[in-house]
Symmetry: C2
Subunit: 328 residues, 2 copies
């Protein structure tokens, strides 16, 4: 365990480096603590021994190491109350009654990204609580029709399907069957119900039942796949650690939807999680802060991606605020 003054120094160094992006010298610290620079230097040397600080070259000031940030987040971060302006901007969004939830989420993440200059991500999908409300078919021509699926929480998916040799009548019957037998089923259980309760029946009286079954199956499948929304990717251009093009190229190649889906998967934690540097798979110079949310219509994950040199407390409190407001 570190002594009190060592903690103080580490905290000051992290916070100064987060603000200034410049290595912190013993002089800067000793002006704040009332002691000489030599004292600070020896403490710094100790913290470096412990692996919490680093130097960029032999005679430079110190910057936090990855472990340093980790220690800071785990031990030194005090749950600060949110900054007034951040708070205000977010409150305006959530107090606006006329906005739908998904718009609130999108807008609030936009605010986070704009205020902090980090990248923000929402990953969401219809929650397990969505029950199948209705399935609808609109014929377009002899062999084309639209299948529309609606849940009781107001989610809608549709798909145009082309069927050869299937009469409208057969389709209507199948749809009626679904509307009778599996309305009220949680949306992510519909696939299995289709398989075991509908497929056997339509197998008997629909000639091309495979085709029809597959088409309908796909529509339901789209509910399961989460959608992702990434805001402010280019904010990284403002960060000095990404001011060279090679670095940016690498980073942007990792900020693609597919990779983010992998990286920011929903898990069962109810806390705010922090993945610093090598702890994530995006880039060793970034930190991801994320949290899950769940309402009765929708669930998913909020995440903020920024440089390791990140305003941890600010981002965490903003995410916390958003999560809480989404959930009621």
């Amino acid at each position: 365990m570190l002594k009190k003054r060592q903690n103080q120094i580490l905290k000051l160094i992290v916070e100064s480096y987060v603000k200034q992006a410049k290595p912190v010298s013993s002089n800067q610290i000793c002006k704040i603590l009332k002691c000489s620079s030599a004292t600070v230097r020896s403490e710094m040397a100790f913290l470096e021994e412990e692996g919490l600080l680093e130097k960029t070259h032999t005679s430079s000031g110190r910057i936090p190491s990855e472990e340093g940030y980790r220690y800071y987040v785990d031990n030194l971060l005090e749950p600060k109350k949110m900054n007034g302006e951040d708070m205000l901007k977010l409150q305006i969004i959530f107090h606006n009654q006329s906005l739908e939830l998904s718009d609130c989420i999108a807008k609030s993440l936009q605010v986070v990204s704009d205020m902090t200059s980090y990248t923000a991500v929402v990953l969401g999908k219809a929650s397990h609580d969505n029950l199948l409300k209705e399935i609808n078919v609109v014929p377009l021509s002899t062999n084309q029709m639209i299948v529309i699926v609606v849940t009781d929480k107001g989610k809608v998916e549709h798909k145009t399907i082309t069927l050869e040799n299937v009469s409208l009548d057969e389709v209507k019957k199948t749809v009626d069957l679904i509307n009778h037998l599996i309305v009220g089923t949680p949306i992510d259980e519909v696939s299995t119900k289709l398989e075991f309760e509908i497929k056997p029946i339509i197998g008997q009286y629909v000639k091309q039942h495979e085709q029809l079954y597959n088409a309908i199956y796909h529509v339901f499948n789209d509910f399961a796949s989460p959608d992702i929304n990434v805001v402010g990717r280019t904010k990284f251009l403002e960060q000095p650690e990404f001011s060279n093009v090679e670095k940016i190229k690498h980073l942007f190649s990792k900020l693609k939807e597919e990779d983010l889906l992998q990286e920011i998967k929903q898990d069962d934690s109810n806390n705010i999680e922090v993945y610093i540097g090598k702890e994530n798979n995006i880039d060793e110079d970034v930190t991801i802060i994320k949290t899950n949310f769940k309402t009765d219509s929708e669930e998913g994950t909020l995440a903020v991606i920024g440089p390791k040199r990140m305003e941890y407390d600010r981002v965490m409190s903003m995410l916390k605020f958003i999560k809480e407001n989404i959930e009621r």
Copy 2:
């Protein structure tokens, strides 16, 4: 009018600069044309006088000026047949019967972006030929419902609306009215029909008719608003003229959806249009090549955005190919 050899030299310079991104010297040219470098130099001096070439500094080779590119595109570009690999990749997409048109468009633009390392944009909306097929309402709770609108070409829009003090019965009646009176109307004329044929009638027997009318009006409105799809923004990072961060920041700030919507508006031309440098409003170092398309279900614009130093012939032939394939 330029002499034949001057045309040749300009063409060679443009094409070399497009490939190499380095100023072209008289030596490189004289190896191709059978004449001395001094001869080429004097021709180059003439082309510079004419404003078609530029130097980066007094003793550098020449690069094309903006007017040079313009002259090249207008006069020197021969309609080359498409490169084999480009052709192949695009054909695979359009020959795949199971893909929907909008997926074909998206995929082919992805291919263009990947093969050329430029940014590609599709801007599309339901065409004027979409006729209202059906409007549907699914009640969710006492004061919430989903309105679903379908066109005969298979476009679907939906919106969850919240109505206070409007009975489900009133809504049903209104929807029936619409289904009777304005089904078959082109989708972009529905708004006016709603205003003049539906509003007066429901005004009489629906108490909160304003609310209901507005809600429905908005669903239709979403058909009119085009959606935009931008592929490969980050490809610009590969271009040497955008290898400094300030330049990229500026460029990316201009490649936002809103700005592109403005810039790549659909017009009534049926050709491939080229906007070089200052001719567009994105950035004076980029060129936009665009073309409109129109099918019976959808219409819009395809565009490719790259550096001024762009493979004009290649991009133009790819766009032409895609346009033609979309339109049948």
